[in-house]
Symmetry: C3
């Protein structure tokens, strides 16, 4: 539980961020992978945001400039979508629109590792990944074997801090306990459910929800923590009734819609 | 409820169209977006059609010529798939195969707006969109901010009528009450559920079901109305048992399969 | 039921393969279609494998070399992904990594038929398809109209045997009763549920599960049979509680996770 008045973020600020998200219905422009787009779009709809997946280079620049927030997820990036991602990230940056980078599987694959490193110059408001990805992007690790990660979030604290210093933004590391830092303040979010790791795209959807919170106007640290708390609380509710990893996903979407009070989340500053 | 003998379509004609669809099991060639393909394919399977998503330019022309009907949905169109869409639309048109255009997010984005305008020359049997999209395509509006629409279907009646005159086909506008017109006759379909708007791809799937009804041999107005009535009735049934937007989607597919009598739909001519 | 000691595979070998899969958590590199990627990834997660969809040519070669197994599925192949598929298949072949070819809709479409034929040179450990696809790939039939197949698996026995002789591997034909052959031994798997044919991607997911079993180290015949038995048993369990084709899919994923004993499968050698 979060102690009121801690120097991170407090429970009231999280619940206020949730209300602001519902009121703003932010348009989230997602340049993302083809595997988890559907869950991502449905998660955004469930929390009250409006998703739009536009990754044609001829459209991405202009669309990013009018969106409330932008998400760039490298899951199935290719040469064409990489062009769109560069344009969208720079366009968002130039327009002062917050954008989130999800460096999926960065580390082991040179093409996407180079792209992610280049995208850091457009100063993502939040970078969200697992420990392997964050360590690889910070230059501190060899990367995982894909989207999963053997390392605990805490292992990536130094890398996350260094990365936050480089972008001037926030870095979030997913794990059994998540870790969100702006380089000086670090917040941890516990709870959730192991079924999240058995649902393709749950982490990707989390990245999109971070973008949704930022698009609703909150500061990056509060928004990132609120998204993680929201996901964790919904996962706990869904896990109580799910019969397995297949029925978990729709129940998690139901719960994302239903959760309005982020106070009960296990957030510690 | 639909009055028998009205000059639009009657309830018996709709239920007959449903039976014809099950008997024909039409092959629906979909050139569509990557976000909602899965729901679209499952919706087609649920109603008794056979989906095939083929969007490689080297294959699209030939495949469109042998399909029962073709759907072109611009959701995540890119330069490569635009080539395939042009080929498929012209091929369908030349073969006398009915095809449906879903001009997703047309209006705000020049690339797809130009493409949709060009595709009208291949005379889609049905154009299906929300009010913003239909108004933008008819040259009567500035377009929405993406896939959602602030405008009611009725606001797009003049635009739909003008567009139908241009294509010689039918235009369908989705909204709280849907509107389907061939330029002279206009039919309205009520009912459904707000949960459809919280499920990514429900509108896209509707476009594909219109194509399925046309592929089973019905006239464009009856087929388009039948698809809207089918979707609405299934949504009502699913909404009665769904616990939220996540569980709604699979239950809606179950209901699409189960609905065989379209008579109870709230259709007015 | 499988008679112990038959010259095909026995029930103990199948259950042992299931345990080995859970222990190995193989990384399965999928170059696959955009329609059914999500179900495929979730099916792999459900059985205990780790999916990674990487189809950028700049990444596919290197990634295939480090994966436990590779799946190539031609569902929505295009010129770009065809390049990645060639690189991945050759890379897997050179590294001694087992790979599976799913020749979706081969036969009616020249581009993918030529590609599938070329890929046979990289000697897939298993080719998995429906009867139309296997007959077309073996040069024995004209192909189906898409992903469905009017022919029974047994009709493709000669074609499957010829194809197995050509690749030196195993060929699996899906149908009401599935057929798996290495050219000399032929195993049949019954059971399952017709709801599998009404769920887009169930066949694609089966192909990926074959790859997962091979990636866990088993021989190709046992691994292919185990995957088919696993899918069938899970389908039977899901069909008992599903209310229709929509609710079947998540329940099938739940059951894929839960099935650990493949002994009850209707396997005959």
């Amino acid at each position: 539980m979060l102690a009121k008045g801690c120097h991170g973020v407090d429970a009231d600020a999280l619940t206020t961020a949730r209300s602001a998200l519902m009121a703003a219905a932010p348009l989230v422009h997602c340049l993302t992978n083809t595997v988890t787009q559907t869950l991502m779009a449905n998660a955004l709809l469930a929390v009250g945001a409006a998703p739009a997946m536009v990754d044609e280079p001829l459209e991405a620049e202009g669309f990013a400039a009018v969106a409330s927030a932008v998400l760039v997820n490298l899951g199935t990036v290719n040469e064409r979508t990489a062009v769109a991602m560069r344009l969208a990230a720079r366009s968002a940056s130039a327009a002062g629109t917050p954008w989130v980078l999800d460096p999926v599987a960065v580390g082991g694959l040179a093409f996407r590792t180079d792209l992610a490193t280049e995208l850091l110059d457009a100063r993502p408001a939040v970078v969200r990944g697992n420990a392997s990805e964050i360590m690889a992007l910070a230059g501190a690790g060899a990367g995982g074997r894909g989207v999963d990660s053997a390392a605990a979030a805490e292992d990536a604290l130094d890398a996350a801090t260094a990365l936050a210093a480089r972008t001037g933004g926030v870095v979030a590391v997913s794990g059994e306990t998540d870790l969100v830092t702006d380089g000086s303040r670090t917040v941890r979010i516990g709870g959730g459910s192991a079924l999240l790791t058995r649902t393709t795209g749950a982490g990707c959807a989390l990245g999109a929800l971070v973008a949704a919170y930022l698009g609703a106007g909150g500061d990056a640290l509060t928004g990132a923590v609120a998204a993680h708390a929201h996901v964790a609380l919904a996962a706990e509710a869904a896990a109580r009734v799910a019969a397995g990893p297949g029925t978990f996903a729709p129940l998690w979407l139901d719960a994302l819609d239903r959760v309005t009070d982020l106070g009960p989340a296990r957030v510690t500053a």
